[in-house]
């Protein structure tokens, strides 16, 4: 389809980007029904930290026995249907979760014209593998922190203290094993292994989380609710400034490295510049189109982006938590993550991992006195990413104009401004809608956390928690699993990748990451997360 034939609504039913919006906002809207006392999402089933049997003297508080390792969130949070969701139990809850998301995602798969039979089979395998991994990853040995052990009156024992991050890492490992050692199986699953779709949907759910954060904090105190609402706005503004500065340094820097040091052709250098600098795959594809690079360039860069993003995902959260900037500057780390990791999936996942690591570390460092609300560090990572994503369209447009009018000098050719809209990441719309609606509820009928608004906020919490906690984490897990499945490390060995691998390595570790950390520091240094614990 040419540019002239495309309408503003083209792709609304056929693109992953749009289907992330439909899925995300669909469940967001169903979640809002809880304000009217209708809780239709309480079936989403969530894990707890577990052991096979409790040691003597221990109580099932933060850590439970294996038969309680999962529970439908409605069984705990619903105001109107608690008994129904309790009756579902863990197995019933998982089956209902499977059923609802199978139907919902299959509708998307149908409209995107994927092979529905292959999709449903692949989805079923990925879904249950994900839940199995979620289960294993929540064993106390992997996930429980010192504080969890203490609160459950456990005797002192060694645990890895990875929090929910253990499940993410495990899902990635399981996916990578499938992707690299069972390639025909991975190929079979590839119809349903869609990390970009899953993560974009999860990012819309994250919008609910960001809007819900002040509501959650207001349950502790009105002052805390205001502090969290203010912090999310600060992240929004700081993220925008950091992103503009970072991008305008990243792109020409990588372009220079590619052209001057590695002697690459212009179009290849431009695609690499965007792929390494912005949001990997989409940017590489958008720039490839803008500068008329051969399709194989975008594909090669995209493959590299995925592989390197996974490597970053494994290295950076631990590095930022335990080496620098650590718990002293958690939002510098989050923001730098957003600017360094080049796919939405890996970035949000790395942000989530960082969030888990940082919260576990600060809790251990302060003996449980400082408890950071979950999701703020993830938000800082996603916020810079979202700005970068929005920048893709504009940059692709600018590059297209430069290439058409200045470099290739194509006579008679015109670049329509509508190209910006077509390149715009649509899932961002869902993210902002979800965020602003919950924020409007907080400041509107919720009276900003005042006593007379608390009834509305408590009702809103029921729907929000199902989406921002249950569904968001599930889609993060699906992303990790899928990312692993489609990542083939053997590709790095292929001869034609050799030079690009080095360009990517040099640009990423010697240029992008240090600059990202520096810029994140300039705009986020000193921003602190309010605590929910006794110290606050």
């Amino acid at each position: 389809m040419t540019n002239q034939e495309r309408k503003w609504y083209t792709g609304m039913l056929t693109q992953e980007d749009w289907w992330a919006v439909w899925l995300g906002l669909g469940f967001f809207l169903l979640g809002l029904l809880s304000i009217g006392g209708i809780d239709v999402l309480g079936w989403i089933t969530y894990p707890k930290k577990w052991v096979f049997s409790l040691p003597e003297g221990a109580v099932a508080k933060k850590i439970v026995t294996v038969n309680h390792a999962f529970y439908p969130l409605g069984a705990k949070y619903s105001q109107t249907a608690k008994d129904f969701y309790k009756g579902l139990g863990p197995i019933g809850g998982i089956l209902m979760t499977y059923l609802v998301f199978t139907v919902a995602t299959s509708i998307g798969a149908y409209f995107m014209r994927w092979d529905l039979k292959k999709y449903i089979t692949g989805w079923t395998i990925i879904f249950f593998l994900t839940y199995l991994t979620w289960f294993v990853g929540h064993h106390a040995f992997f996930s429980a922190s010192v504080v969890d052990l203490k609160k459950s009156h456990f005797p002192e024992m060694f645990t890895l203290s990875l929090g929910g991050g253990a499940s993410f890492i495990l899902a990635l490992i399981v996916g990578l094993v499938i992707g690299n050692f069972f390639k025909p199986f991975a190929q079979y699953l590839s119809t349903a292994a869609k990390p970009e779709w899953f993560i974009k949907t999860a990012i819309v759910f994250l919008g609910v989380k960001v809007g819900y954060l002040p509501i959650k904090a207001a349950a502790t105190s009105q002052k805390l609710g205001h502090a969290v609402a203010g912090l999310t706005f600060d992240l929004f503004v700081a993220g925008a400034a950091a992103t503009i500065v970072a991008y305008m340094i990243f792109w020409p820097g990588v372009y220079l490295i590619s052209r001057k040091i590695f002697k690459l052709p212009r179009a290849t250098a431009a695609v690499l510049g965007s792929g390494i600098s912005i949001c990997g795959v989409s940017a590489a594809v958008a720039t490839g189109g803008a500068v008329r690079a051969k399709p194989v360039v975008s594909i090669m860069v995209s493959a590299l982006v995925v592989v390197w993003a996974v490597i970053e995902l494994v290295i950076l959260p631990g590095f930022f938590t335990h080496v620098w900037p650590g718990t002293g500057d958690p939002l510098v780390a989050g923001s730098a993550m957003g600017m360094s990791v080049k796919t939405d999936g890996a970035d949000a996942a790395a942000g989530e991992l960082l969030d888990e690591f940082m919260r576990a570390k600060i809790s251990a460092e302060t003996d449980g006195k400082v408890v950071w609300p979950e999701g703020i560090i993830t938000t800082s990572a996603v916020m810079t990413k979202v700005w970068i994503d929005m920048f893709i369209g504009l940059w692709a447009f600018v590059l297209a104009m430069i290439w058409v009018y200045k470099i290739d000098k194509r006579p008679g050719e015109r670049v329509p401004f509508s190209e910006v809209w077509h390149r715009f990441p649509k899932f961002v719309i869902g993210y902002f809608v979800a965020w602003f609606v919950y924020l409007a509820i907080f400041f509107g009928p919720g009276h900003a956390g005042a006593a007379d608004g608390m009834a509305v906020l408590k009702a809103a919490k029921v729907g929000a928690i199902n989406v921002e906690k249950g569904m968001r984490k599930l889609f993060f897990m699906l992303t990790f699993m899928s990312l692993g499945i489609i990542t083939d490390f053997a590709k790095l060995k292929e001869a034609q990748f050799g030079k690009m691998v080095w360009v990517y390595f040099v640009a990423l570790f010697c240029f992008i990451i240090p600059v990202a950390v520096l810029i994140a520091y300039l705009f986020h240094h000193g921003m602190m997360i309010p605590t929910l614990g006794a110290a606050g």
């Binding site: 305008m248 399709p295 705009f523």
Partner: protein, 64 residues
Amino acid sequence: MGAEEKRKECHSGSLTGDALEAEDVLANAEEWSPVETKLVVWSFAIAVIALIVGLIVVPTSVLH
């Protein structure tokens, strides 16, 4: 993967790990041109301006 199929794949924006054909897109670099110098210099210049404005305007920056 056929050329048409590959083109579609490329423009889908979706992550896939399909096979790649060896094609020489890394060689035959063109001479560096003045337009590229302008592109790079202007990008850096905009970054510097955005940095100064950002540091002054954004309330969470190190200047505040």
